[in-house]
């Protein structure tokens, strides 16, 4: 069957049933199966009906998923591996961290994200988030993460708004909670929040009615970064479990390291952390990782080398004597990389400090470095996260939908 509308109509029990479900005349439903030049929709169900139809179908015990609306459509083949959106598989209102997520929930997000990669590459937009408003609330400078979230929201049809709040102005006046209450009164559906203090996003999430996605809080967690790293690894290697991953550099100040440790250990990878003792936090071995202070040893036979940026802005006092010395012992160059498996992938959450933690030639090695791929996966993963949390929200108010 190459006609998604017919497929959906059949699945829902005929045109009359579908008409009743969405509240339109059956003749309009028939028209979905006509070609465009005859006043039809070319075999597509108009996107404005998707959500209502899914809801109504669910109420009647019919399993209808967004993929059904693309079923058999030649122009946008649904990714074979991607499972249908299923709120039951991701029952969280917020995504505040990786800690606490199960392997199945992580797999679900990665599977959904995999499907969105194809959508992104096709330059098409879905409208799963049509009528939704998301606000990017950034208390810390960011270009890549904010842009990535914005693009993810737009590719799903959400209205996206960016707010940058310099921390200094927060110090002067409005507290974090007041900011949260102000935004809450504007009724957004999703808040994406980045904040320089650990736990701040968690605090904010307790005060708002919408879904909250952590875009990075202090040195605590950066869940979407870990998910995009995982997606990159999985697409390259086919699996995560059983791999040996070395996370190298400034572990102490890194939220990326913490989220990745949680994710990778949950998915069954072996995780090593490599860095000078001053940048490896106390008792990190209790999180299930092996600690190395010698980079050659730490990289030995590993499948993935994940480099971290030296977060100089979070360092008060000396942690490493100089960048030159740091690069000498902990910068990734071909000599050190030679200890890893020959096909080991090089990853970096960006922005890269060339010559500080990674040699330029290594960073640009198209055979080994997947740094730009990580950026691409970032958008897909954030689409999956946005979809997952909005699926657990109440539906948008009916007047947000254009009338039929």
């Amino acid at each position: 069957m190459l006609d998604p509308a017919a497929h959906v109509i059949a699945k829902c029990g005929g045109p009359e049933a579908v008409a009743a479900m969405v509240g339109i005349h059956p003749s309009n439903v028939h028209r979905w199966t006509y070609p465009k030049d005859k006043g039809g929709t070319d075999g597509r169900v108009p996107t404005r009906h998707h959500r209502k139809l899914i809801e109504a179908a669910r109420a009647q015990g019919i399993t209808l998923t967004p993929d059904d609306f693309f079923h058999g459509a030649a122009k946008t083949p649904a990714p074979a591996a991607a499972p249908a959106a299923d709120p039951a598989r991701f029952p969280h209102r917020h995504i505040l961290g990786i800690e606490g997520l199960t392997a199945d929930q992580i797999t679900y997000l990665l599977d959904r994200a995999d499907g969105f990669v194809a959508l992104s590459r096709s330059r098409r937009k879905a409208d799963l988030l049509r009528g939704r408003t998301m606000i990017n609330l950034f208390f810390e400078d960011s270009t890549r993460t904010r842009t990535s979230f914005e693009l993810a929201g737009k590719r799903l049809g959400a209205d996206t708004i960016n707010m940058s709040v310099a921390t200094s102005s927060v110090h002067k006046g409005e507290s974090l909670i007041d900011t949260a209450l102000t935004l809450n009164a504007m009724h957004p559906d999703v808040l994406v929040v980045r904040h320089p203090h650990s736990g701040a996003v968690d605090l904010l999430s307790q005060k708002v009615a919408c879904a909250v996605i952590n875009g990075g809080d202090g040195s605590h967690e950066h869940p979407t970064q870990a998910l995009l790293d995982a997606l990159t690894i999985r697409r390259r290697r086919g699996h995560i479990g059983g791999l040996t991953v070395a996370i190298c550099g400034d572990i102490a100040h890194s939220r990326v390291a913490r989220s990745n440790i949680h994710l990778l250990t949950t998915m069954g990878a072996r995780v090593r952390v490599v860095g000078p003792p001053t940048l490896v936090p106390t008792a990190i071995d209790r999180m299930g990782v092996e600690v190395f202070h010698d980079m050659a040893e730490g990289l030995k036979d590993c499948d993935i080398v994940m480099m971290l940026r030296l977060q100089l802005e979070r360092m008060h006092g000396t942690y490493v004597p100089s960048l030159r010395e740091n690069f000498h012992f902990y910068g990734l160059d071909y000599d050190k990389l030679a200890n890893a498996r020959p096909d080991a992938l090089i990853m970096h959450p960006g922005p890269i400090n060339r010559g500080v933690e990674i040699d330029t030639a290594v960073a640009d090695d198209v055979e080994r470095s997947v740094i730009t791929e990580q950026v691409e996966m970032g958008v897909a993963v954030r689409m999956a996260c946005l979809e997952a949390v909005t699926n657990n929200l109440p539906l948008p108010l009916p007047n947000a939908e254009p009338r039929s």
């Binding site: 974090l176 909670i177 203090h197 650990s198 605090l203 809080d217 202090g218 040195s219 605590h220 008792a283």
Partner: protein
Amino acid sequence: MTTRTAYINARLMDPSCNRDEIGALVVEDGRIADIGAGVLAGGAPDGMAVVDCGGHVLAPGLVDSRVLVHEPGETYKESVASAAAAAVSGGITTICTLPNTNPVIDDVSLVEFMIARGHDAGLVKLHPFAALTVGARGEKLTEMGLLREAGAIAFTDGTAAIADPVLMRRALAYATTWGALIIQHPEEPNLARGGQMNEGEIATRLGLQGIPPCAEVMMIERDLHLVALTGGRYHAAHVSTAAAIDAIRKAKGRGLDVTCDTAPHYFGLNETAIGEYRTFAKLSPPLRTEDDRRAVVEGLADGTIDIVASDHIPQDPDSKRLPYAQSIAGATGLETLLPLVLELYHNKALSLMAALRAVTCAPAARLGLDAGTLAKGAAADFTVIDTERPWRIREDHLLSKSRNTLFDGRPVQGCCLRTVIDGRTVFARED
């Protein structure tokens, strides 16, 4: 005309002389006129008011040796009046106040102000600590002699450590002139700088900068050397780590004039109370590991830790409803001091007598106060305690202006039924 009141049918418990007997206590003109098992055995004479204690414990009023009242300066968090009302409802008859107000209590007129405010409140007896350094900035000594004459009972920079070893040496030496007590907040500030909680697995998971536990023992060890050098009198406030307690245990063995106290948070909770960034559990020193908590209980049991103080640091919601790193440390404690100390008795860590000693005669003796005893002739400051009554701590039932208790919802056993100061009943539980 003298007024006499008899408190009969009481279990008289006086840790200052290890009295533990059923009997009666007679108050005359605000002082204890008589006490003992045989007192009023033949019944109270006509005209004497009689209070039947119902067999409950009658103990000296509690002496809380570490209270921040926030007056002057931040009376929206707490005032002398509100702290006094909270204190007496918890069986406390004497409080010693920290100098970390705005302005800092570092001047004779400010010490006099604090004492006057205590009188005005007319409830609990207030004894101010004076700052050891001007502005509690740790740079220049205050006028210790004059402050002492004005009524300051000991010297401390309160919530700030005396970091400079030369200054600490001079302070200890100078204070020996009057035998004045120096109280330290034992934390090496450079090592602790930027720290938010106890260093370890939980801090690492939460992405919060840790304070290594050795920051406490380092400062205490340094001070102990200076005490040996100067012959000074030294008290380490709110000790929280096993190593620090061990250092003090050894110093006492060497005969140094050293004491220490702890607060209920440090034997009632450990760092897991922080959970997911619970700012009410942000304290200075931070909550420690379970091993340290047990060491605090052991230190109390073997007498290394002399005193339990509430470490009452009230904070308003705006100081606590912040990201963890930005929130201000401290927790209230006046009203929960008694039940949490009694928890040590109910858990069989301490005898009832030892538990009461740590909050009555031990702090009174160390600070040289006329309090903490039921001796004949002493001020009639005492409390009647039902040691068994179960209840649940509720933040919205607290009388302190601030509600930042760490123990909200905790089931406890034992409460104050009546508090008497100078023979006057200042609190009586109605239910």
